[in-house]
Structure formats: C-alpha cells, structure tokens
C-alpha cells in the first residue's frame, strides 16, 4: 500500500518538474524537422538510396511512405533518446539529495527499497511515455502526412522490402525491445544517481558510459571483440532485427537476455547502495 502511495508521489514529482518536458519537447522538435525535411526533399533522399539498385530492380508505388518515415525516425532518435531519459532518471535520487528533500523522504515509515523501486517504476513509466510519444509522432503523424505503404529497409545484406500488412507487429516488437534498451539506460542512470549528491553527475556519467561502450563496441581489436557482445550498447539497436527477413530470433533473444541481466545487476547495486547510504546532505 505504502509502495503505491510512494509511486504515486514519484509520478506527481516527475509530472511537476519542468525538466521532464524537455525530452518531449526535444523529440517533438526533432521529429517535426525530420518530417518537414522529408516532405520537402524526401524524394531526392530516396533516389540517393535506391540509385545503386535501379539497374537491377524496378521500384513501384510510394517508397516514401509513413512506415519508412517511422523507421528513419526510430533509427535517428534512438541514439539521442538516452540523454533525454537520463535527464530525468539520473535526477531521481541525486536530485533529492541536492534539494535536501531526501532527509525528509527517508524519515518516513516506508523502507528505502520501496522508495527506490517507486522511483524506478516512475522512471520506467516516464521512459515509456517518451517512447510512446516518439512512436505516435513517427507512425501516426508520419502515416497521416505520407500515407501507408511497404517498407524498404537497407541493411548490410542488401535491400529488404516488407509488405504493409506484415509491419504492425514488427513495429510493435521493435518498440518493445527499444523500450527494454531504454529501461537499461534508466536503470544505469538511477544506479549512478544513488552514488551522487548532485543532478549533473549521473546524467553526464550515463552519457560517458554509453559513448565509451559504443566506441569499444565499434573498435575492431581482437582483445575487445570478446567483450563486445556483452556490452549493453551492442544491443541498443537490436530493435532493427525485427525488420530482417528471416527473423533472427536467436539474436533477438540473446539481446533481450543480456539487457535483462544488465538491468538486474545494476538494480541490485542500486538497492544495496541506497540502503547502506548515510544521508549527510
């Protein structure tokens, strides 16, 4: 009972904080710019992508459609969304320490673990709102402006065309695994937040870790190749697997498992630290 009251409080706090709307505003702005650019100059962009294939393939119908726009938006934004999420989730514990409210919060008759999970749940809900907003803008507004159609995806093996009727579940699952990878970011920033007494530290540290792991993940060095599959950043783009044909099920399950293991491990560290923390601020 107290856990749900605490979770409700955390929702209220996130909803009342001005910084919570930065993410939503930024996504709206970026998507609006992408939509405007594609509306005005999309066809030349498409011709540039399809040019190498035009000698062997004939393209019919509207290639530039809402589904392609949604795919492009997902691909572009998924790299930047972690910063917008960390802006809020990295502040959940350290922000209370910086403001001094943690003293009052932790003298209430509710366990520290419950408070932390309340914050975590609220952070996950915020992450979901950000992704749903992105999905709404990408899919609904994209289809409204550009219409529906088959999706043409360019990957390392070449061009794949996925038919319109086969796309809904792929987008749904793609958003699902993208959500899992964003939960991973929330968990990381929340854990770092438990170690900090200021808001900026966990946010910057989260981004630094993502950048570092991404660089390690792309370096073709034999000694690093062994750890690359275990870095969470290597699985942040696994949503794209749902747009492969045939579906790489094993790869998708592996990615989900690695992300879940990371989330569990980080959450355990956060619970341990938060429970042992002396409140000196």
């Amino acid at each position: 009972m107290m856990f749900w009251k605490s979770t409700y409080n955390e929702f209220l706090k996130i909803a009342a904080k001005p910084r919570s709307y930065i993410g939503i505003g930024a996504i709206t702005l970026i998507v609006a710019i992408i939509l405007f650019a594609m509306k005005t100059d999309g066809l030349s962009f498409i011709s540039f992508v399809t040019a190498p294939f035009e000698q062997s393939l004939a393209f019919e119908g509207d290639i530039l459609n809402g589904n392609l726009i949604a795919f492009i938006i997902l691909q572009m934004l998924i790299i930047h969304v972690p910063l917008l999420i960390a802006l809020v989730t990295g502040d959940l514990v350290s922000g209370e320490a910086a403001m001094g409210t943690i003293r009052l919060l932790l003298t209430k008759p509710i366990s520290r673990t419950s408070i932390l999970f309340s914050k975590y749940l609220a952070g996950c809900a915020y992450t979901l709102v950000i992704l749903l907003w992105m999905a709404f803008l990408a899919l609904i507004v994209g289809k409204w402006l550009f219409g529906a159609g088959d999706l043409m995806v360019l990957n390392s093996d070449g061009l794949i065309v996925i038919q319109e009727h086969d796309l809904a579940w792929r987008f749904l699952c793609g958003f699902g695994i993208a959500y899992l990878s964003m939960i991973m970011i929330s968990t990381l920033s929340l854990t770092l937040s438990c170690f900090s007494e200021n808001s900026i530290g966990p946010i910057v540290s989260t981004m630094a870790i993502i950048i570092l792991f991404t660089i390690i993940g792309t370096l073709d060095v034999p000694s690093l190749n062994k750890i690359q599959p275990f870095l969470f950043t290597s699985h942040m783009v696994s949503w794209r697997n749902f747009f492969e044909d045939p579906l790489p099920t094993k790869k998708i399950i592996e990615s989900a498992m690695i992300l879940i293991i990371h989330i569990t491990a980080l959450l355990s560290v956060a619970v341990y630290k938060f429970n042992r923390k002396d409140i000196l601020s």
Partner: protein, 306 residues
C-alpha cells in the same frame, strides 16, 4: 501536560565513525513522554549526527537506540510512523505548492489526510492564504513554519526539531518558539529540540542533555541543572587589589574564581550578591556593575570557545 515516567527515547553509548573520524563517541540520554527535551551542544558537537541516527538517516557504528520501547534497526517503520521531524533546514519540492508538499509527505506517513486537514495545519503555522503558492517564493522562516506543519500532519507522538531557529530573524525566532510552546501546551507532544543556545533551551525545555565532542556530558531537569548551580558573578570595581583585600579580611577569599583587569569573578549563591556589594561599598570600593552568570552557562560557553 507534564512529563511521565515512560521513556520514549533511550539512547545508550551511541557511536558513529566515518573511517578514523569519530563524529559521535559516546552519547547517552533518555527522553520521557511529555518532555520538551533540550539537546544542547556547540556546533560540531555531534547533535545532528545523533538526530540523523535516531531517524535512521545514518547507520550507527555501535550503541543502542530504542524508541517507543523498540529497537530502531529492527522496527524502523513502526518507530518512524510515530515521529515528525525537521532535520537541519526544512527543504521541500520548490516546484510544488505548499499544499501539495504537505499532501505528498502525509501520504508517505501512512495517513489519509483531507484537504481541510491540510489547510487547517497550514493555518496553524500561520501560512493561511499561501497554500497554493509554489515554494520558490517562500522565505526561510516560511519554510520553517511549513516544516513544522509537515511534522504535525500525521499527528506524531514525538517531534524532533534540529536547530529550528537557525537562520531566522529575531521575530522568526520568537514565532517558532511560540509555535513549539503551542505544540507542547495545546497538542501535548513530546518534543526533542536541538540547539546550541542555552537560553533557547532554558525558555522552552523541561529536561536537557549537553553534548560536546561527540560525548554526552550532563543531563537532567533544566530547572535542577540551572538552579542548583552556583552563580559566577562578575563585580566590576575601581580597585581590584583593595577588593581582594576586603574579601580576604572577611574570610571570603575562597569565593574568588578569577581576577581580571577591572573585575573580580566570584562563585557564590544569589543571596550573597547584595552582601558582597554592601561589603565593597562599606569599604569605599566603587562598584560599577554586577553581572551574574550561571556556572552551567559559563561551562557551556567554555565548551563553545574551547
């Protein structure tokens, strides 16, 4: 309400270390139901560390902490449910209104509060009309009042106020002091009040403990501790040597505590002040001023300086 024999706080040999640094080395005291208990000590004596430990904000290194007859480490939530507190300055969510802040903390205190109860409490602390205002525009004094409102919302048995008058202007100090007295007299609360100002404790508390350098030094009834103590009386006179001689002739040299450039410090009871004054006057020694300080106050000031 008078204090009873029921101990609601029992702290024995509390110790808290951070690595090699010992913030609290040996603090022991008891608070009885109905007490307004003064927790006195100079800055850095370990008051806040002790209070934070009592509220489970800090884990003790060793010692026994029992509140309401239960162990803090094993019955944390039960104990915290019966306490309302302000630890150092009262900080709230600046982006929420006063009303929303109170509601938010009330929810976590395990009680269901109505809007009218929230408004009633806000009115009690003198913030009527500011319920909907965000805390961005609140002064320190207003936040302190809201902090007291927050401590009362779940009708706790024990209220812990850590230096509640720090940073307030003189009027703010009087207002907060009156609020505390109101809590004691009208709401029958047990109050633990920490301060580094003896006069503040003297005005409000019925029992107290003094701590210094992480150790409790003395505890008991404020009345007994202050009245039982002899006074240190400073006689400012025109001729120190003659005054010393007069006291010597009257077999009172043993009363002399310290000889300063223009004054003699004597330790004596209140009744002896006019006798000494008359003695000096009869011997043509001009007395410019007489200033009496309690030994405890002097002792406490020495602690602060020392």
């Amino acid at each position: 309400m008078t204090a009873t024999d029921e101990k609601i706080v029992e702290i024995k040999h509390l110790e808290k270390s951070y690595g090699k640094f010992k913030a609290v080395t040996d603090v022991s005291f008891d608070v009885y139901r109905g007490d307004v208990f003064g927790f006195l000590g100079p800055n850095g004596a370990g008051k806040s560390t002790t209070i934070r430990t009592m509220l489970s904000l800090i884990r003790p290194t060793s010692g026994e902490l029992k509140l309401f007859g239960k162990n803090l480490l094993s019955d944390r939530n039960y104990i915290l449910g019966k306490i309302g507190c302000i630890v150092e300055k009262p900080d709230f969510y600046k982006y929420l209104s006063a009303e929303k802040n109170i509601e938010l903390f009330a929810r976590l205190s395990g009680v269901t509060v109505t809007k009218s109860k929230v408004h009633q409490i806000i009115e009690f602390v003198g913030l009527k009309g500011r319920e909907k205002d965000k805390l961005n525009g609140f002064s320190h004094g207003m936040k302190q009042r809201l902090g007291i409102a927050q401590t009362l919302i779940h009708d706790p048995e024990l209220i812990i106020l850590d230096e509640p008058t720090t940073g307030l202007d003189p009027q703010g100090i009087i207002d907060i002091r009156n609020l505390i007295l109101q809590l004691k007299n009208e709401h029958n609360k047990t109050i633990l009040l920490s301060s580094h100002i003896l006069s503040e404790i003297e005005l409000i508390a019925n029992r107290m403990v003094i701590i210094n350098k992480g150790k409790s030094i003395i505890q008991g009834s404020v009345k007994d501790l202050l009245n039982a103590q002899e006074l240190i009386v400073s006689f400012s006179v025109d001729d120190i040597n003659k005054a010393k001689q007069v006291l010597d002739n009257a077999s009172m040299a043993n009363l002399i505590d310290t000889v300063e450039q223009t004054s003699l410090l004597l330790h004596l009871s209140q009744e002896k002040i006019p006798i000494i004054n008359k003695l000096f006057c009869d011997n043509n020694i001009n007395v410019f001023s007489i200033e009496a300080k309690r030994k405890l106050e002097d002792y406490f000031l020495k602690l602060i300086k020392g």
